[in-house]
Every structure is written in C-alpha cells, then in structure tokens.
C-alpha cells in the first residue's frame, strides 16, 4: 500500500491533507478494520471534509448526527470504534479536538 509511505502525525492521521485521495481513503479504512467503504461511509467522510474545509476543525458527533444525514446508531454501525475519530482519519483530517 502506498499509504504506508505517507507522513503521519502523532495520532497516526495524515500529516499533509494534500496527500489524500479516494484511494488513500480506502487504504486508511483498511488500516481501521473497514474492508469496504460503502456509500454511507462516504456520506460521513465527505461531510467531515466539507466541515473541516469551512471551519478548520472536524465537526462534533452531535453535528455529525444532526447534519450529515447519518444518525447516531448508523454512525456507530459504520465506524464501531468511534465515528468522529475514525472517519476523520479516513478523511485525511487530524483527530477532532472537541469533547462532544
């Protein structure tokens, strides 16, 4: 996987957002134990990227729940080990800073 050679931050997220593309996302997903990114996964990833581009930080889980079009239950079904954290990583963004 080419993703291996990309620079990472202390949390294991991509150090440089420009390194990201859809292929990289698929590889990062596999690192997180998600074998195949579905359309539902992509809704979350694209929402994360849009929010980050606009606000400079990943959205809270509440915002994700209310505005992404994917509800809390499904978020945890798609990303069992933490929807905000895992989708941020796959989206090539730093770990979300907020507490909620």
């Amino acid at each position: 996987m080419e993703t291996k050679s990309l620079g990472r931050d202390a949390d294991g997220h991509l150090a440089n957002r420009n390194d990201w593309n859809e292929k990289v996302a698929e590889d990062l997903a596999i690192e997180e134990g998600i074998e195949k990114l579905t359309d539902r996964h992509w809704i979350v990833i694209n929402f994360m990227r849009k929010e980050f581009a606009e606000k400079g930080d990943a959205p809270s889980i509440r915002k994700l729940t209310k505005e992404s079009g994917v509800d809390t239950k499904e978020l945890y079904a798609l990303y069992p080990k933490g929807p905000a954290k895992k989708s941020a990583k796959i989206a090539g963004l730093p770990k979300p800073k907020g507490c909620i």
Binding site: I61, K63, Y76, C99, I100
Partner: protein, 163 residues
C-alpha cells in the same frame, strides 16, 4: 505502554446541571473513543433520566461558593445572593447558552445520543424504591432498574467512575 481503557461504568449521583453533565460527557466521550460505557443513575442523579425532570435541570446557586459573575473568572457572588428568586434560573440559562455554543446538547437529546451510541443506561433500584418511582417515570432510553449487585456484575472489567 500502559493498558488502554476498554470499558467504563459511570455513576451519576447528583441532580444539578453541573452534577449531571460531567457523567454524560464522559460516557459520550468514551463511546467516541470506542470504549464500552455504562451509565448508572442514583439518588438525584436519576433526574437526568426522569421524563418530567430531565428538561428542567438547573445549576444550584444556593450553597455554591464557586459561583462567580458575570462568568467563571468574574467576582465571587456572595452566597446569600444565590438565594434571590430567579438566580438559579438565570445562571442555568446563561450556562446553557455557553453549552449550546460548544455543541453540548440539552439533557434529553444528550441521553438519546448516548443511548444510540451503544451506552447502556440503568437506574438505581434502591433510589427508585425510596422515591416511589416506577419504570414508567423514566425516559425510554433507560434499559433497566438494577440493584447495586447487578451494577457490579455488569461492571466486570470496567473502570468505575463516580460523579
């Protein structure tokens, strides 16, 4: 490297806004980190999940020497002033506004979110009996009313956090 935390059991024992939120934030935060979480509500902490109470959770301004105006780094509010009618309501509405800015949801919405996130919610049987409550008094997210013994059983392998 030290062992990561895999499971937490959080006890909420107080019914004021500042008594309830830390437990809810920690439970939600645990789930966000992929940590299993259980919430156990006891004594006035039960108010966080009682249908008729959960939308009216307030900050105590009486007997709260930490109270400052207009905000945390402001002047200390003389404790007797906390007893002025409307003071608690005022402090509560101010804090709720600040919480909304940080995307911290109101209690009912937060409880729903935490439950949907896979956290189990339990009421304390001793308190339920003492307060003459039944399961019907609680919001639907409460999974069960359990004894302290059952709580310890369910907390096997968990870090127990009392708030």
């Amino acid at each position: 490297m030290s062992q990561p935390i895999e499971k937490v059991s959080i006890i909420v024992s107080r019914g004021s806004l500042d008594g309830i939120y830390p437990g809810l934030i920690m439970a939600n935060g645990a789930r966000m980190e992929g940590i299993d979480a259980t919430l156990f509500f006891t004594f006035f902490g039960l108010y966080a999940v009682i249908n008729k109470k959960m939308d009216n959770i307030k900050i105590a301004t009486v007997g709260n020497p930490a109270m400052c105006v207009p905000d945390a780094m402001g002047f200390g509010l003389p404790t007797w002033m906390g007893a002025i009618p409307g003071m608690s309501r005022y402090a509560t509405s101010k804090m709720k506004k600040e919480m909304e800015k940080l995307d911290i949801p109101p209690v009912r919405e937060f409880v729903e979110m935490i439950h949907d996130a896979g956290c189990k919610l339990y009421g304390c049987k001793a308190t339920v009996d003492m307060f003459h409550l039944t399961k019907k008094d609680f919001c639907p997210q409460v999974d069960d009313i359990i004894s302290v013994g059952q709580f310890y059983e369910m907390s096997a392998g968990a870090q127990i956090i009392f708030t």
